[in-house]
Symmetry: C2
Subunit: 369 residues, 2 copies
Amino acid sequence: MAKTVITVDDLDAIALGGAFLGTGGGGDPYIGKLMARAALAANGPVTLIDPADVGDDDLCVPVFMMGAPTVMLEKLPSGTEIMAALDQLETYLGKKATALMCVEAGGLNSTIPFAVAAATGLPLIDGDGMGRAFPELQMVSFTMSGISATPLVLADDKGNSVLINAVDNLWTERLARADAVQMGGAALVAAYSMTGAQMRDSILPGTMTMIREIGETLMAERKAHRHPGAALRARFSGHHLFTGRVNDIERKTVGGFARGRAVIKGTDAFAGREFSIDFQNEFLVARDDTGAVLATTPDLICALDADAGMPVTTEQMRYGLLIEITGLPADPKWRSDAGLNLVGPSYFGYDHAYAPVEEINNNKNLNQD
Amino acid sequence: MAKTVITVDDLDAIALGGAFLGTGGGGDPYIGKLMARAALAANGPVTLIDPADVGDDDLCVPVFMMGAPTVMLEKLPSGTEIMAALDQLETYLGKKATALMCVEAGGLNSTIPFAVAAATGLPLIDGDGMGRAFPELQMVSFTMSGISATPLVLADDKGNSVLINAVDNLWTERLARADAVQMGGAALVAAYSMTGAQMRDSILPGTMTMIREIGETLMAERKAHRHPGAALRARFSGHHLFTGRVNDIERKTVGGFARGRAVIKGTDAFAGREFSIDFQNEFLVARDDTGAVLATTPDLICALDADAGMPVTTEQMRYGLLIEITGLPADPKWRSDAGLNLVGPSYFGYDHAYAPVEEINNNKNLNQD
């Protein structure tokens, strides 16, 4: 039985690792850490369990926040919303959750499940549905395994809640997004309830452990006065795509998403060149000045502050910020035809074909780190 | 015990009377009649009961369609959606409905409850929540009595459903409207469930009987080759606001509503003058060429085809159509401060104060009929 006890002391690493793997989305690590810290301080540590240790008929329930990250920053969850969402889902199912899950990496969405686990005393399963963050609800490995997002419950800070039953996960996204927009741009959600057997069939295992390792590496490097980028790339098969200063950023919150594009002027080894990153809550495509793709969804585009070494979310991107961009290979599930159908470039309206980040960058970046 | 048996033969009158009292909204009478006719033909007649004959603890459930009337015309309900909505509401409440209700008058929303009553064998209560039609969910006498719209269930033709619990009826409108828009612009709804005692405290009694009388008067006059306008005004304290030809109509479906304005060139006794009618699903304000208000929400602005004598809905208004406009006094509840707060001119963004249709028109229209 692989069980890990997560205490208040682990939350810094988890929030930072989640934010790095969240590829710009998944919420602010500072807010996420505060929420989880309060819950663990009040209720004690959380047990992280291996997917193998969950019973076939156990009820596993992912909990998360959905909405534009820009809104999440202004509208802090109190903690009661997510408990209301879980409670209403359990009432509807007529069954109590036996374990909690995480849907995506992110400063907030990697830590919210710990807060709920502490408050309920339930264990949290080591894994998630993305191995990164994606902007839409149906973009989880659970969808590839035929697991329904519904019944889904959204709850807001005012006391409103919505329970959705939909014919497929794309319909769930449409309905839930419309409600989240009305709820002020973001809502807390319990959805994708599944049996232990379904969970094992669909989860991307080990994500929580990986997130903690990323966070610990990041903190250790910073403590040793080194920028953590190189160590993270070495440890997680990453590619240094570029370093530069944000020269222009265009963003709008539309349809419940934070969409936009950042233009970055290269510095250091990349001086004299210009790069761009498109985002929809998460960073989707990185390009150089010739328009050539350096990394594309579903591969991960992770941003670190080039000075401070801290993860940078899409809403933190601002004119003049010096950033270092790392590309990481996505989970092999996302590189399958089914995965690319859900989250590949064409789903987001791009013309370019998917090419793995390591194939694009193996030659040209050999000597850049 | 005042019980009336409603058979297939009564549905023409109910659909037409509903459409007239629907003040341009509440759905198309032809579609409503077809739906109800199919249900009554398959399941037998419906019992219309007096509010006084419902037990204090009985569960009374209104059923209706919400959305833009323009969409309702293109997207005919199959009948299964509204049964799904009712069924899910009953499951959530853990209790079966003992009587059905109507929320508003309208070609569709006065007949849908008959279709559901026939399919379930439940009686329908003689009354509604508006005594006309209004565009938004919270605009019912039930809101004035403090009755919650939620739990509310929306269901669509694809098999999606949404159950809302909201802190007030305005929040319910926002969330339900957003879902209805996603569902294709219209959805079938079960909401405002209440006890028999609450129903008696809040219902506008007798609306179904009034609708049938309007429809019967309309049909009898047409059969006698008379335009029904004069007889309807004589019977229901109406005012002949004007007759004219639609000269211009501007409309857009926005935010889930059909909004717009029609400009009408007066004919007959009104020749040489120009009039306008604003609408949001329903006709809201009628004005003459000086901009003076002839009738304003919450009073009723009812349109008849000046040639055929049939009710005209907002979506049937078109260039060249000759229409005769009648103003009817709203139920006294709507003229109270609480009523005007919910549905008065200022709620819809107008500057003019409310003035009763009879005060505006008593002198000037004395000799026009």
